[in-house]
């Protein structure tokens, strides 16, 4: 019996090596390992050996069978892997993967986090304020008294005479400066509101306001910081230009344009054929604002800037209708 087992082992090893395709392997399985195979036949003989010998021989028989089964499995895998197998079932790798769950941030959030991360890297702190703001912080303290024509630039939602939905995140400038003495470096991301709704305006949108106050901060510094930001946010080679503009809480005030990311400056529909895209508003903080918060305007200077997140996301991703951001259609959200 023992000898028989060893013989079978040797023979089967050779037969396995000789099997070069799925057909051969199947023949091997039937001949040696099958229910009516040679191995089963030998095992049946175990009943005939002396009782004392049975455990030892039983273990030997099991070991041999296990070895052959493992070798068979290995050979089978090997053949399947070498693609030499013909006609046998194989795994179909064109089947889709079992996707693990995964969602995505809203594109506006993605852009906002990117913007915040750049300024945080430059040492700006992040501060958030109330969406429902006092007229004082939204306008008056920013040098926009009642009945100033600059209020036309802000179509404001009112809650009462003195309470409104903030039209920009600039009120955080005042709130922060009231709380702390210079130097200050801060950005204020958040939702802002204007009563306006069409293909390029939604009544709610997102802004990041930033400002820096210290001694001897110059317009050149403003240009420098914004240039660093634009190089990081877009491309190192993105052209930038600064144009005079007007905001009541900055002077000198500037609009900052970047070379059109769509047409690379050639002129297209998005940039209205100018080759430039308006991307943010900025300026040196107006001395009147410093006076409002009790800073000495002769001792301190600073700059402030504000930019819209939707606009950047639209440019970055080629989104043509701003309203899509707030429909929350998964066909849209899953693209970013």
């Amino acid at each position: 019996m023992e000898a028989e087992l060893h013989r079978l082992q040797t023979e089967a090893r050779a037969a396995l090596t000789a099997s070069v395709n799925a057909l051969g392997l199947e023949a091997f399985r039937v001949k040696y390992l099958g229910r009516k195979g040679l191995f089963t036949t030998v095992m049946r003989a175990l009943g005939d050996v002396p009782v004392a010998e049975r455990p030892r021989l039983g273990k030997l028989a099991n070991d041999v069978r296990q070895e052959l089964e493992e070798a068979f499995a290995a050979r089978e895998a090997e053949l399947a892997g070498s693609q030499m197998a013909v006609g046998a079932p194989r795994s179909d790798l064109t089947l889709p993967g079992r996707l693990a769950p995964f969602g995505k941030s809203h594109p506006v959030t993605q852009v906002m986090e990117e913007v915040c991360a750049i300024f945080e890297g430059l040492g700006f702190a992040v501060a958030e304020g109330p969406d429902v703001e006092l007229d004082y912080y939204n306008f008056e303290a920013l040098n926009i008294p009642p009945h100033h024509p600059a209020r036309d630039m802000h179509d404001t939602f009112y809650v009462s005479d003195s309470v409104l939905l903030r039209t920009h995140t600039s009120p955080m400038q005042v709130r922060a400066m009231q709380k702390a003495a210079p130097p200050l470096r801060m950005i204020a991301p958040g939702k802002v509101y204007r009563c306006d709704s069409d293909i390029t305006h939604t009544p709610m949108f997102h802004q990041v306001e930033g400002f820096l106050v210290d001694r001897k901060v110059s317009f050149g510094d403003l240009k420098g910081v914004l240039s660093v930001f634009i190089a990081k946010m877009f491309d190192k080679k993105t052209p930038i230009r600064f144009r005079p503009s007007f905001f009541p809480f900055t002077e000198p005030s500037a609009e900052v344009d970047i070379g059109c990311v769509i047409c690379k400056g050639e002129g297209c529909r998005v940039c209205k054929k100018t080759g430039w895209l308006e991307i943010l508003g900025a300026g040196l903080i107006d001395p009147a604002v410093f006076k409002m918060v009790g800073y000495d305007p002769d001792a301190y200077t600073g700059f402030a800037f504000g930019l819209g997140m939707e606009r950047i996301a639209m440019l970055k991703y080629g989104i043509t209708d701003i309203r899509m951001f707030y429909e929350n259609d998964l066909r849209f959200l899953s693209q970013f």
Partner: protein
């Protein structure tokens, strides 16, 4: 503000193209919105002279015109009533494509050949005027000339988007002054220099101004012998080019001078002014005036009026009254050139909802020195064009005109602010280029007398900006601020929100952002009780619509609207979350704003995976519970308790769990009741969760203490018991933990079975208990003893029996 290149060139010798000028203006802070060539597509339109008119044999309303076009003669079928021999008009020749898109061809009209078309101004896109028929051109225009050349139509319109500070550029002259700095030249205005003072002796009218603060200056003159009629072509052309409709010569002149100088003018029919009197005063309560647009306006005592001896005749600075309007029979005109308080005009214009070219300028501020110049210009044009004579003298009330203080500009300060290194002379030169007189002083300062036309220049910083502008922002060197190194404060609440968003995304949720304002009807759709806290919200005074009328008190309704939209577009597997503010009123003060995390899930359990792998099983409440578990685990908040409850107003019965901490509700989740789902148009089971982040932020931060890893093996023993249906499996698990047996490491529920051989109303609950000791390998006897104790406890406590295997 619209103007044309040729119009501007009337005052300034400018050798720039329209595009070059537009670029320079934009870079000077006068952002150009549009550059449009005017009157294009008129290539084959010529001046023609009608030499003969004959009836059309086959049509009563048409005639056959013989038209001389230079050396050629054309036969043209025409239907215009004013076609007559001798008329000089416009003829579009075959091949011409008119602005309407119409192509002119040689054609037969009712059987007669027509070799062109005689055109009206409207057909040529020149104006809206059509009624009179074809164009009536000056008889001295030679036929055969190009119409564009003969009428000097070739021009380019430029539109500037003015910022509120540049009131001076709401005029062609103001823009010409600015453009002068581009080419180093100064403009020539039609009326230059000081004008002789007006004398008010022996005038047939009086002017009385009640308050100088409301009306700093009021200039009035009387013109007699006015003949109202259409304006000459050059005047109409200027107005048409900037999109204004010519009305009659008097009105057109006032509009033209306003565009030219930026000074709004108003012409009254003097015959309509009772008592020959002009009073500038506030309205009295209850007064009314029908304005030129035909609307009767209720006036309030805040509003400034122009009145005669009896009644209001104009809303000052906004619009004239119909009762004193210039009309075809007018022969005497009282012309007003005044300066009103910007704030007063703005308030009045707001309250009346009436914005005009005049109010636009007054709101921004009109140079008080302009009034007499614009008056002189208009009077000259009126005399020239309408045949009027000006009554000598006039009124020039100027008590409100204040001298302006000189501004001191520090050279060092200017350079520090801009990051430049300019000397005083350079600064003076820059300012002089836009006619700002500046004088260098001994102490490194510059004395600047702000010119009257730049009412925006009041402080040193205003001049610093002018210098920056004139140097060119792009020529200011770029630098980086020298700042102390410091680590900015991190806002813990913001960090938590970022962490939560990360968890939700990892769980397959997409982030949604909805408007902060919603419709108040959301509360009804949710079926909230009358006094429910969520019904108490902050309304907007001026919402865009009813469905954006109040600040939201819950995030869920917005997400439910999103789900409906997605389902409508056939995306039925939806997982969305939003982290945003809700708003609760606090009296008249700013509302209380707090952050919530709300999520919804509906559709298949494995939304992004193919059915081939997972089948189409739908999510249930345990998916929602698993999400909450993951959030609590990810945010390290083990102290929150899940409390099943039945009083969830928007949840399906018995499908609602509160998250409690220290007796406070931190959130809830459940299945949306079918009734609410239906209100939102959702027909599939939907689960939601809502967490109050204000409560979470208030919890003490979790202390993380690393535990040693077990060195000895654990053993698992199973326990299967049959209990009544009402017994909750979780209570079994909790009871085992509560027994506090030190060897019990973990209790897991692995099967619940109902059916044979058990009787109805009972179920089998199978638990797997993991036992482990930290310092040794457990033997069967030790585990057996504990297991038996626990089994007995369960059997007694839950009236259970062991399930026979």
């Amino acid at each position: 503000m619209k103007f044309t290149l040729n119009w501007l060139k009337q005052y300034l010798d400018l050798d720039l193209t329209a595009t070059e000028l537009a670029d320079r203006l934009t870079m000077a802070g006068l952002e150009v919105e549009a550059v449009e060539p005017l009157f294009v597509g008129l290539d084959l339109v010529k001046v023609g002279r009608v030499t003969a008119v004959a009836p059309h044999p086959n049509a009563d309303k048409l005639v056959l015109c013989t038209v001389e076009v230079g050396a050629e003669t054309r036969r043209v079928v025409c239907g215009a009533p004013n076609a007559r021999p001798g008329l000089v008009t416009a003829i579009a020749l075959p091949g011409a494509v008119l602005p309407s898109g119409m192509t002119i061809r040689i054609s037969k009209i009712r059987g007669e050949i027509s070799e062109g078309m005689l055109c009206s101004e409207k057909e040529l896109g020149i104006s809206e005027a059509h009624q009179g028929g074809i164009m009536e051109l000056s008889a001295d225009l030679a036929s055969g000339r190009d119409l564009v050349e003969a009428l000097e139509l070739a021009d380019t319109m430029i539109e500037v988007d003015l910022t509120p500070n540049r009131a001076d550029c709401a005029s062609v002259i103001g823009l010409a002054r600015e453009a002068g700095s581009f080419v180093g030249r100064h403009l020539t205005a039609p009326i230059a220099g000081e004008l002789p003072a007006l004398t008010s002796a022996n005038l047939p009218f009086v002017v009385q101004v009640q308050a100088a603060a409301d009306c700093p200056r009021y200039v009035a003159r009387l013109l007699k012998g006015v003949t109202i009629g259409p304006s000459p072509w050059w005047l109409r052309r200027r107005l048409l080019a900037v999109g204004q409709r010519p009305i009659n010569n008097v009105v057109d002149i006032t509009n033209f001078v306003m565009l030219e100088y930026g000074q709004p003018l108003h012409a009254f029919d003097f015959a309509c002014l009772a008592g020959g009197r002009v009073e500038v005063r506030r309205a009295m309560a209850g007064e009314q005036l029908q304005t030129l647009d035909g609307v009767t306006r209720d006036l309030n005592p805040e509003m400034l009026l122009i009145c005669d001896a009896e009644k209001p005749v104009a809303v000052a600075g906004v619009m004239g009254g119909a009762n004193s309007e210039v009309h075809p029979a007018t022969t005497e005109v009282l012309l007003e050139s005044a300066c009103f308080n910007p704030m007063s005009v703005r308030r009045t214009s707001r309250v009346l909802g009436l914005g005009t070219e005049a109010s636009y300028r007054f709101e921004r501020g009109v140079d008080p020195q302009l009034a007499p110049q614009a008056m002189e210009r208009a009077v000259r044009l009126l005399c020239e064009i309408t045949g009027a004579t000006a009554v000598p003298g006039g009124v020039d009330y100027r008590e409100g005109v204040k001298p302006r203080p000189t501004i001191t500009m520090r050279v060092t300060r200017t350079n520090d602010l801009l990051g430049l290194n300019l000397d005083a002379d350079t600064i003076v030169r820059h300012l002089a280029s836009i006619e700002i007189p500046a004088v260098k002083q001994a102490d490194e300062t510059i004395a600047v007398a702000p010119p009257s036309f730049r009412i925006d220049l009041e402080r040193e910083i205003d001049l610093v900006e002018e210098v920056a502008r004139l140097v060119g922002y792009n020529d200011i060197p770029t630098s980086l601020p020298m700042v102390p190194m410091c680590f900015p404060e991190q806002d813990a609440a913001r960090l938590m929100r970022k962490r939560l968003a990360g968890i939700m995304i990892a769980l397959g949720f997409y982030e949604a952002i909805n408007y902060s304002f919603v419709g108040a009807r959301h509360c009804d759709m949710l079926g909230l009780a009358a006094g429910h806290a969520a019904r108490c919200c902050v309304p907007l005074l001026n919402p865009l619509g009813e469905d954006q009328g109040v600040m939201r008190t819950m995030l869920l309704p917005g997400l439910l609207e999103n789900v409906r939209r997605n389902i409508n577009f056939q995306t039925t597997d939806v997982r969305l979350f939003e982290i945003g503010k809700v708003f609760h009123p606090v009296g008249d003060a700013q509302p209380h704003e707090k952050m919530h995390l709300t999520a919804v899930l509906t559709g298949r359990r494995k939304p992004r995976s193919p059915v081939v792998h997972f089948g189409g099983a739908l999510v249930d409440i345990f998916d929602a519970k698993g999400v909450v578990d993951a959030i609590l685990d990810g945010c390290r908040l083990p102290q929150l308790a899940f409390v099943p409850a039945s009083d969830g107003e928007i949840a399906a019965p018995d499908q609602f769990i509160r998250l409690m901490v220290d007796g406070q509700e931190a959130g809830q989740f459940g299945q949306l009741s079918l009734k609410v789902a239906k209100e939102f148009g959702i027909k599939q089971p939907l689960f939601y969760l809502d967490i109050d982040l204000e409560v979470l932020s208030g919890l003490p931060p979790a202390v993380i203490q690393c535990l040693p890893l077990a060195r000895f093996p654990a053993v698992r023993w199973d326990l299967a018991v049959v209990v009544a249906e009402e017994v909750r499996a979780g209570d079994l698990v909790a009871a085992i933990y509560a027994a506090a047996e030190p060897l019990v490491e973990k209790v897991e529920l692995f099967d619940i079975y109902r059916g044979k051989p058990m009787e109805k109303g009972r179920k089998s609950v199978a638990l797997s208990l993991t036992y482990r000791a930290n310092e040794r390998t457990l033997d069967d006897a030790t585990v057996g003893a504990v297991h038996t104790r626990l089994t007995d406890m369960i059997l007694t406590r839950f009236k259970a029996r062991l399930r026979e295997v």
